[in-house]
Symmetry: C2
Subunit: 284 residues, 2 copies
Amino acid sequence: MYDCIIIGTGAAGVSAALTLKALKVNFLLLGDKKLSRKIRSAEKIKNYPGLIGVSGEEMSKVFLTQLADAEIEITQGKANGVYPMGDSFSVMCGQVTYEGRTIILATGVETIKPVKGETEFLGRGVSYCAVCDGFLYKDKTIAVYCEGEEEIKEVLLLSQYASKVYLFCPEKVKVDAPNVERVGAVIKQIKGDMRTRAVVGVQGEWAVDGVFMLKQSFGADTLVYGLKTEDGAIVTDKNQGTNLAGVFAAGDCTGRPFQYAKAVGEGNVCAYSVNAYLKSGKGV
Amino acid sequence: MYDCIIIGTGAAGVSAALTLKALKVNFLLLGDKKLSRKIRSAEKIKNYPGLIGVSGEEMSKVFLTQLADAEIEITQGKANGVYPMGDSFSVMCGQVTYEGRTIILATGVETIKPVKGETEFLGRGVSYCAVCDGFLYKDKTIAVYCEGEEEIKEVLLLSQYASKVYLFCPEKVKVDAPNVERVGAVIKQIKGDMRTRAVVGVQGEWAVDGVFMLKQSFGADTLVYGLKTEDGAIVTDKNQGTNLAGVFAAGDCTGRPFQYAKAVGEGNVCAYSVNAYLKSGKGV
């Protein structure tokens, strides 16, 4: 059991981790070991105090060195769901589960908006996790959306369960399985009644029993059930607390401006709020 | 007329300035040319993302280089008062006045609490500015509180107006004027009826017509009339807006945690909020 689980390794997650470490809180930093794709891909950062005109690549290097100096390890993993367990939380991460007394969401901003019907049919045929839910579709017909090569392993896993996989992917990926058919780039809509019944693409409609949306990032409210959001941003108070006790949020996932300085500031505040929350005896 | 005046050159003020510059907003950065005393005096900063284990002195150097690179100049000065002028604000700074459409308060945290009666008699015998109000006390008896050598020039100026100056100062400063008498280290209380009538020190009470509190930093609510504060911290919303339209605040002056990362984040958010405020046609 960790005192805190930080989900995300962007600027907000890194800042929260450095400060939790200084506060001697026992935490897990969960995300991409190379740091978030967004940090790495920035061309030039002009207005971050302390780093003069660096690229995202250079900023990442400094952050990684700083984490190593502070003896903070990143646990590689993508959270699929956060579940309240009374006084603590379970974070599902593929087949692994981590337990934490508090959560800091530093998941960044969702780059792809949910398609029509996605949120509506979530848990009723729509899933984000091949490893978690694949077995539910044994000998069934499913649709899978993925962003590129990085998710092909998950598509192959799903092809072992399902009888037929309709694949949607913006890239022309090659999948070595006879029952996988790439039928388009994007899913436009998910349809159904009590459960998912069909997906709509640009070139038609396909009857399916389930849909897997294998995206790099999720809407925070689909990651954490019951989390209050507004226009896709997590609603936070001045202490970066959310509407759920023990869940805090920082960085792009709390809304604009999408800036490194803001993310770093909110991550710092989260760490202090988590510390105060733990010391108050809550979440223990 | 500036579009924005940033008051304070700590981490929050520097961050706001870098981002306002990137947003091409025409602004004035008002404060200590060497940056705030608090940044400079930090021994070791462990948890600021981007600068690994630096001292405050080293952080100041990086910030100053960054400001110079961005062609941002600091205007040396200590604001004594911010006055709303309809659609803009006047910032009094000794004998100089600057006009701005918006204000970013990045004044840090007040290190010395107001003494009993100070806020009550403000404008009724209590003043923070020798240059502004000294002439009001021609041939009168006044008390002056100052923190050290840096304010002696102001004490001398006051001694030219007043017939008698009772000086309170924690340091044993030497003032070369016959009518200045150091009577204690601190003022404990200011008393009066409709106006200030006396000051109370550790060793007695002195009848005076006015009191000058020459402090390095003020409570934000004494700097800006009508500003909403709670426990000495400026109350801000998620966009760092205060209860006064056009006035934003960032850093230690908005409350705990007193951290560089938080200050930098809030400064950044202020810059975006000022920009949005100006673009909305308000304050123009």
